[in-house]
Symmetry: C2
């Protein structure tokens, strides 16, 4: 039987809001009702961040229901109050609040992480969203900019920025904290959702923040601290800080997972054996029903105590086409708990983790660095076996990378881990600095490419190849399957003389990419996966290789032969191999899990040109144009015309346009 | 008469060191003698940072002469103590100390900022240099990495990292400070050269750091503070911190320019009318002689008081070929004082500053942001005329960029300024985040390209185009001369709908690039500067256009016709214009003031391919291969084979290789 998902409709919020119940009762009801709806949205989405949606919920409800003028003056009013969350992953909670106030429809709320719906991290195209966030540490700076603009333009409205506690490990916060008093900002209140758990571990264990009040005061901010679930205390603290003539910050002591007994820290952490299981990812059916039931039951009890009629929930109709596929939903999961569920049971990243442990056994100089993504980067195994060679830097990519620079010059071989978006971009100058020292470092860029597409453009990485591209001594390699991942790790650790950037997809492979039986990784050479005589396509990584193979299969049925090459080397080429490989073809396709700028296609164009291999050939780049779309993998690939079917069409079109072009020219 | 430069030879340092004079006398003598030699080196170089070389000198001398085992155990010993400066621009002082101890020869010291000599910022290929630095804020992280490696590998030696006070505005420091106690680092001492002046203004005015002791203590560090020119106090403080079992930091109160009366803060600042004139750049002849004379006089007096024979200095022979050209030296100058001296009196950046003021008058929404490079970025004029629309963020590029994001969404048009290396790389993820919001921001990337080459690879920017390349909504424009700079600023402010990255050279133009009389900037179109029928070369910016025109002139004398196109649009092309422009040519040259990866060449290859314009053509990229060379402009351009003469050779070679290739193929 399909799971039933029920939503609390907007009129029920209106009823509670307009009731004669005590203020605290009304706010508590709304907060729990929003928790239930956020839970439903995440369950439907198949992924999302409940732990911090729940810890921040009471604050967000108080702000929107009592403190902000935003809805009364209008979402487009220049004089509106501004609220946004810098951490951003708590946005399911915010969506639920915006839904409760009529800003978002129930249909929209049920399109969390779907194309045309609500992005997995905040995006300003969604009504009520004031800032794009999701990559951490930018919020206080951005909020200060908004506050500055309001003052300069004589506009009304205050600015409230929510930040996470783990997020405070990002150095940018301290730039922003330094400039708050220096810019004499008065219309900004920062609220720390201090729930003490980041990703899946306690902040204190990952990278202790010490005495936060003392720190903020040392930076010249007015600080208040209160229970982040006590509406009265929050009310007083927020008013006090809002009236303070200077930058102000509230440390709100909250409980991660607040509102659902078994999701609450510290109980949940104990049950998870030291790991908090509800940071990201949707709960399984049973947990969902227990959690939802608990929330609704408490709401009904409170309503009854207040002498009000019980809630009526609305059944959410099943998701309509395009129905998300199984791997779509699983590809969304970014948490340790989901490691064993996959479309193919093949996770490139899992093998990466295993290979790293193996290398750790062989190479005593290997050290592994993490920026609070150890579960997603699959380096928990290394951590467990070599705790004295595992370095946790917290959410501080720049520090991690420069620290690796120091390690590398003094006898160690550091393997630096984070998501590609964060590592390649946030620590770009530090990576360059290390590269100029000529030491060897391995940069493992996880979650490379456009899939999973649910988290949205803060997380999808389509620029990382280009960000490493102009570094002369970094080899960029993306393996296609588990086997090649193992080879790539071995190559990087044992053979490579230069730095290596390993580009790794994070989800399950949509299919197992079969490499030739005798295949071994050879510098600058790829491997033929399918043979056909009409065109040749280069692709890399399991996601795009799968789609390209689907295209080849479709084309084959129409008598169009597409040769498919797995090209794990994204910026190193063996010219002889390349010459032989492209020799029979006039049409070259490059399918990029990346922007068309600065990816494999540009590198190939360049090397083909310098080896006089382009004169009779056309190269067509098919990459992620624009910003990456949010949605299920199918939706995003289809939108970018990178799914198998679209690719088949595009290859055919390219070939025929080319044929006519050649006719015209000759 | 040529200026006489005299150096104190190494044996004089040995004499002082081995003398019976009191310890304090010996150290004072060595420090002033090193100051004199650093001054001589900077004068010879034509550029360099004296202010902080002098403020840090007493500390560096104490460390190397009394505290570090580095020279006794050997520069390659794994058990050596490590010292490096995170700010890096104080390296002339360190070179002088290393010279005094016999690590660097006098000849080498006189090759500051010359090819094959001593880089303008620290580089590990120079003996005694332990870390590449110069881009700020990485040192504590890197030092912590070294300290961690030493502990892990059971190696001896402590780590000392010098940082600047202005440098503490970089957020990465706080990531590193957070992780110091968390990683239980014990063998690291950080020393703040707290000279209270950054670049050319007082730290407190740029971005006040507040109570530093309180901040460091809040981050869990053991803090000591002392007079950074009192050897006794330094000695005690350093010993105390070194013995502390945990991360430790010394705030050394110093005087910028210490040792030369008129270079010392606050006197120098008062004389400079609020601007400190000795941060960067060599003193003029008169100032040099006064400063040198003052230092030598004090040394002789102290020697005489100690009953020692006077110093004998050695005349430095004049610089041998390749003699630096006038514009070479002037191109090195990065300070406000040098604005009016140039090879052509044409500064792209000066016009940028003027155009910005003009735009400020026309557009009330224009706001200008700075990260402590207002003089070099030529935005002092804007600051003076529109103080309420000028935002100083201090050395905090990430905060500046995200703040601009907030401003841009709320009614203002921010123009963000820094050096290209720092802005494009350090704030890359913040730039991406802003771009995803669809607001409009202008990023002015100053000091783009390989020239000036004296500061070294931390400052030379050869990756910035590639770092913006995969952003779909940023147009990258590099103007060729003052006139085009004005047009580009106007376009960016008044016409552009997307974000604009303005890529600007910082030195004087080696020649005035003459644009066609009727020329106006048109999106995607370039301008022909020279006509010839054998090949066509695309270049951008005054530096490479000059070299390309030199090449064209040389080739013309041999009967080879090279068409030269100024192509200010680095990632936007008008296909029709491009078709017409390349039509007559089979040989296309792209001269890059950038790495060959991700620059104009790759973008052109891509657009030519997609418009079927490559079949009968060869495109040759000539860019900055490897890391940018340090030296005079001539030396660096010659090394990279990007000077006019080399380009002429390469164009000829390309054309003839191509002719034979075409013969072979056809």
């Amino acid at each position: 039987m399909a799971l039933s998902i029920r939503l609390i409709p907007q009129h029920e919020f209106a009823r509670v809001r307009g009731s004669a119940a005590a203020r605290r009762t009304r706010l508590s009801l709304v907060a729990d009702m929003c928790r239930a709806n956020a839970l439903a949205a995440v369950k439907r989405a198949g992924s999302g961040h409940l732990g911090s949606s729940f810890s921040a919920m009471d604050i967000v409800v108080l702000l929107y229901y009592e403190k902000l003028n935003t809805l009364s003056v209008g979402l487009n009013s220049p004089d509106r109050d501004i609220y946004f969350s810098s951490k951003g992953h708590d946005v399911p909670g915010l969506y639920a609040v915006l839904h409760s106030l009529g800003v978002l429809s129930s249909e929209k709320l049920m399109m969390l992480r779907r194309f045309g719906g609500l992005d997995g991290h905040p995006d300003v195209r969604v009504p009520g969203i004031e800032a794009n966030s999701g990559s951490l540490g930018m919020g206080i700076s951005k909020g200060r900019g908004i506050a500055w603009a309001k003052r300069k333009l004589g506009r009304g409205g205050d600015v409230f920025v929510m930040i996470g506690d783990g997020e405070l490990q990002e150095g940018q916060n301290y730039e922003a904290l330094t400039n708050g008093p220096n810019h004499r900002i008065e219309n900004l209140v920062v609220i720390v959702d201090h729930n003490k758990v980041q990703t899946d571990r306690v902040v204190r264990e990952i990278s202790d923040l010490g005495d936060l009040e003392r720190k903020f005061e040392a930076f010249g901010w007015r600080v208040a601290r209160c229970d982040g679930h006590d509406f009265g205390a929050l009310d007083r603290s927020i008013d006090e800080l809002r009236n303070h003539r200077g930058p102000a910050i509230l440390i709100a002591d909250t409980i991660k997972g607040r509102g659902v007994s078994f999701m609450e820290h510290p109980v949940a952490l104990q049950r998870g054996g030291g790991f908090y299981p509800w940071h990201a990812g949707a709960p399984d059916d049973e947990s969902f029903e227990r959690a939802h039931g608990e929330l609704i039951e408490r709401v009904q009890r409170l309503l009854s105590e207040a002498g009000m009629a019980p809630l009526t929930l609305e059944e959410v109709p099943p998701e309509t086409a395009p129905k998300a596929k199984r791997e779509d939903l699983e590809g969304e999961q970014l948490s340790a708990a989901t490691v064993n569920r996959s479309a193919t049971d093949e996770y490139v990243s899992k093998t990466y983790g295993e290979a790293l442990v193996e290398m750790g056994r062989r190479c005593p100089e290997l050290v592994v660095l993490d920026a609070d993504l150890s579960a997603d980067c699959k380096i928990r195994g290394f951590e467990a076996e070599f705790p004295d060679r595992f370095i946790e830097n917290g959410i501080a990519e720049q520090d991690m990378v420069s620290m690796a620079g120091g390690l590398a010059r003094h006898g160690l071989l550091p393997v630096v881990n984070s998501f590609a978006s964060f590592l390649a971009a946030r620590a770009n100058e530090q990576i360059y600095n290390n590269a100029t020292e000529g030491s060897k470092i391995i940069y493992a860029c996880h979650y490379a490419g456009v899939i999973p597409a649910g988290p949205g453009k803060s997380h999808q990485s389509i620029r990382d190849i280009s960000l490493f591209g102009a570094l002369p001594n970094v080899e960029v390699i993306q393996p296609a399957n588990a086997e090649e991942t193992r080879m790539a790790v071995e190559y990087a650790v044992l053979e490579a003389r230069d730095n290596v950037m390993l580009r790794l997809v994070i989800g399950p492979s949509p299919r197992r990419i079969d490499l030739p039986a005798e295949y071994r990784l050879q510098r600058g050479k790829g491997a033929l996966l399918a043979r056909g005589s009409d065109a040749i396509a280069f692709a890399y990584g399991p996601v795009m290789l799968h789609e390209t193979l689907v295209a080849a299969e479709m084309l084959a049925r129409e008598g169009f032969g597409l040769t498919v090459v797995n090209m794990p080397w994204l910026n190193r080429f063996d010219p002889e191999w390349l010459r032989e490989t492209v020799e029979p073809f006039s049409t070259i396709i490059v399918v990029e899990d990346h922007s068309p700028a600065g990816g494999l296609g540009d590198a190939l164009l360049s090397v083909l040109m310098s080896h006089s291999l382009l004169a009779t050939r056309r190269l067509h780049k098919m990459g992620v144009e624009g910003f990456p779309a949010c949605g299920t993998p199918s939706q995003a690939l289809r939108y970018h015309r990178l799914d198998g079917e679209s690719l088949a069409e595009r290859v055919r079109a390219a070939k025929s346009a080319e044929d006519s072009a050649f006719t015209t020219v000759c």
